[in-house]
Symmetry: C2
Subunit: 575 residues, 2 copies
Amino acid sequence: MAGYFPILDWGRDYSSETLTNDLIAALIVTIMLIPQSLAYALLAGLPAEMGLYASILPLLAYAVFGTSRVLAVGPVAVLSLMTAAAAGSLALPGSADYIAAAMTLALLSGIFLIVMGLFRLGFLANFLSHPVISGFITASGLIIAASQIRHLIGVDASGHNLFQILSALAGALPETNFVTAAIGFPVLIFLFWVRNGLKPLLSRLGLSQRTIGFLTKAGPVAAVAVSTALVWFLDLGRHGVSIVGDIPDGLPPLTIPSFSLSVWAALIGSAALISTIGFVESVSVAQTLAAKRRQRIAPDQELIGLGASNIAAAFSGGYPVTGGFARSAVNFDAGAETPAAGAFTAAGIALATLFLMPLLFFLPKATLAATIIVAVLSLVDFSILKRTWSYSKADFASVAMTIAMTLGFGVEVGVSTGVALSIGLFLFKTSRPHMAVVGLVEGTEHFRNVKRHEVVTDPHVLNLRVDESLYFANARFLEERVYDMVAANDVLEHVVLMCSAVNEIDASALESLEAINQQLGEIGVKLHLSEVKGPVMDRLKRAEFLNHLTGEVFLSQYQAAAHLHDLPRARTEDD
Amino acid sequence: MAGYFPILDWGRDYSSETLTNDLIAALIVTIMLIPQSLAYALLAGLPAEMGLYASILPLLAYAVFGTSRVLAVGPVAVLSLMTAAAAGSLALPGSADYIAAAMTLALLSGIFLIVMGLFRLGFLANFLSHPVISGFITASGLIIAASQIRHLIGVDASGHNLFQILSALAGALPETNFVTAAIGFPVLIFLFWVRNGLKPLLSRLGLSQRTIGFLTKAGPVAAVAVSTALVWFLDLGRHGVSIVGDIPDGLPPLTIPSFSLSVWAALIGSAALISTIGFVESVSVAQTLAAKRRQRIAPDQELIGLGASNIAAAFSGGYPVTGGFARSAVNFDAGAETPAAGAFTAAGIALATLFLMPLLFFLPKATLAATIIVAVLSLVDFSILKRTWSYSKADFASVAMTIAMTLGFGVEVGVSTGVALSIGLFLFKTSRPHMAVVGLVEGTEHFRNVKRHEVVTDPHVLNLRVDESLYFANARFLEERVYDMVAANDVLEHVVLMCSAVNEIDASALESLEAINQQLGEIGVKLHLSEVKGPVMDRLKRAEFLNHLTGEVFLSQYQAAAHLHDLPRARTEDD
């Protein structure tokens, strides 16, 4: 029971000290989350209040079902972008259908996550490789930043990929509203400075780390307060500065997402991708933070936690949510100890919706856009291209392809192509495995590649190490390589397949081994196996192959060698 | 040059003895191929002569470009079935558009094969696993046999999958033409007897193996001759017995397949599948037969040979062809030595089109149907289900799924599903690799699973053998397992990852190793690697990881053990 309700686990030992720590963390995260929630709703093309609604009930749901002690759930940049793309394919941004589509996406994502969790399918997310994730985060960071420039300069210019956005911006540039830009750019520069220049300055002033942390997090709040006050006092709305305007105050309403089959059919693919990407982002940060305190999270239960959050979002006027990287790190640094901190954050946001909304009437959208740009540009990291280029061309190809396709065709196409390419390249590599002829490293019982090490060999015995599981994609390749090697050696009497790296032999490979055994037998060469692993051997024993095998199965390559030829013995006394 | 024109290779040493052997083999194959070609054209829904045309120029083209010495090319059962399905989706069987579609399929298949050959993509065919091939051959054998029953009983009943065919047959049963059935079933029984009962009988009579082989191959010709004579003398055409009728005599005409873009777009997918399956069938038989004589074939050049054959078919009134299993085996047994035998067979068929056609006017279709049924039922083999069930559930699932989907939805859906499933299951297995804690087998330097072998261990050192390449799909799994094992052991000081089965470490897995190294470092446990393979080590040296590694990289697990703990030494004198 506690497996599905982790709250029963940590709730039992809740102390007043824990309460204090959770409350402090919740306060800091709340302050950070208010402008972020408004900004991400704007990015998703939704009314500002939906960002706040997505930061109330979903947090409570996660506090009950989630396993991370410090994960801070809510709207995040990438999912907001994906929501905009998916809902935008059905309806005009801001329309009632668009809003309903965003809530339906949250519902479908929630169902998808819970089903994945109940069937323990969390491992599927592992097929999003690190290069693919890095690539699409970098590319979507660029797209998001570009998409916000229009708010900074007060024009209308949008698009679904980087090139559409940039060309729309170029076209709209003559219509720049300079008053808006006069707010947007200073705020942008201020926020970059807060992120990069404030901390060293405060350190030199001798302030405590905690105070410094609090002040740097309060930067966006200060920007919101000052720019809102400016717009109000100078009545800049009259000069064409776009403002947030009337946000309905009060707690989230009960909302019913669409249950239309055609809407579901149109959104289900996007919902699957949104939930998978949200899960990967969330689980990465949860695992990293948990490990720092020697805690563990349960990925399959995380699916249920995030699923519950999304369903809560769907029924309380929100849109797809997940665990955010920056806010969870802040929560962790601020000392949050249990998911109760998340619940207190929810209460904080709820209070804000009750009392702060009138204050935000004059908040310029340019300020929110600047907040988003600063947040997402910190995610853009092209160094992965350089690192993978030197480490592995296959990984480089996955990153480069994901970035290019995401920039050119959006996140959904980018991620799908990246995943397909990384799986394809993996299969390609395993279909032509590395094989090494090995010999004995003198003075040991260890066998290594004759091309790389000083080793002892015997012309009558071919010791072949196959560096891959044997399965359908490489079975025929193995046959060909063995026949080639055997054909090149007249005095050969024995072939020993060293199976230390063979983790599986499937039915197709078994056929190939049968064929190799028979072909070698016909020319008087015996086939032996060595170092066959337990699970592989168990299976071979259930087939006919071992009865036909012309040679033997040896526990170790050294035993095979000791049997089959006169090698210089490392330790003659014992043999 | 000789690589692309193998004829330059074998043509050089062509002797009169080789000529004799090739001529004898060609005669036997020609006799076998005439009724088969007519029958398969019938199966494909095409005029009978197209089967013969597909057995003339394509054979010459293969003789020039193919690398197998004994492969007999021509129309085969499975490709005829697939041609019928693909052409049938565009036009009515027998119509001019249908015939054009069949020739266009040959053209597209030929182009596809040649492109694959030029780009050396033959390895892609390896992703059709043995279970998938067995499954679809068995299932299509059943479909083909069922589809021919209508000719045996003289009714009109067809369909695209087994259930459609069987229900159409059941509906048409009352209209059975008993005269047709009175020819069809005796022929069927006779052909089964020739295949199974004639050989033992002739052996008891003391005939030579060569004579026996010739007589059993002549069975279908005898059936054709006798049933044709019967229909002619008794004028059974008047009693509703369907006959082949007028076959235009003369050599194949020059034909131009369709070059309409919409037709190409409609057929390209089917052509890709037809050529892949044809290539797999052909290469399997070519490789098996070549190995018996210690010859080799070049799979990528085979693509070009088969591609040339199909293009020849497209321009000479034929349809998709490939190397047939039964006829190649007959060619081999009859002593064919070079592809010239194929050219002589082509000449034989050409002579038949010139002079034999009037004799075939009264040939009943029921006889051809019986020929097909006997041929394809020999391909049906359900024992693969039993064998894979006991050997590997994943392989069983692939066979069963391929059979079920092929029977239910046709060859294209069946093969695609089978391939997707077998790749999916492979990826699933590699995503949760087997890991074994290993210890020293006393008296050796060999380390094996503590659960399966009597081994020596040290509580301060965890020797963990990971039985899989480390890549994105299992990187996180590795992290979790290591953390779990470390958490369960208080006195641990060292973790040694034994990498004998790790054939790759990709960028995602490298991140995980960095994380493991850091996490273990923080709790004072050192991470070591052992038995890292050359190619993996080369790559690791290009990354930062080795600089951060808290422990060492050992050549062998035994060296790691000797360094890290006091194990009972096998041979104290030398260490």
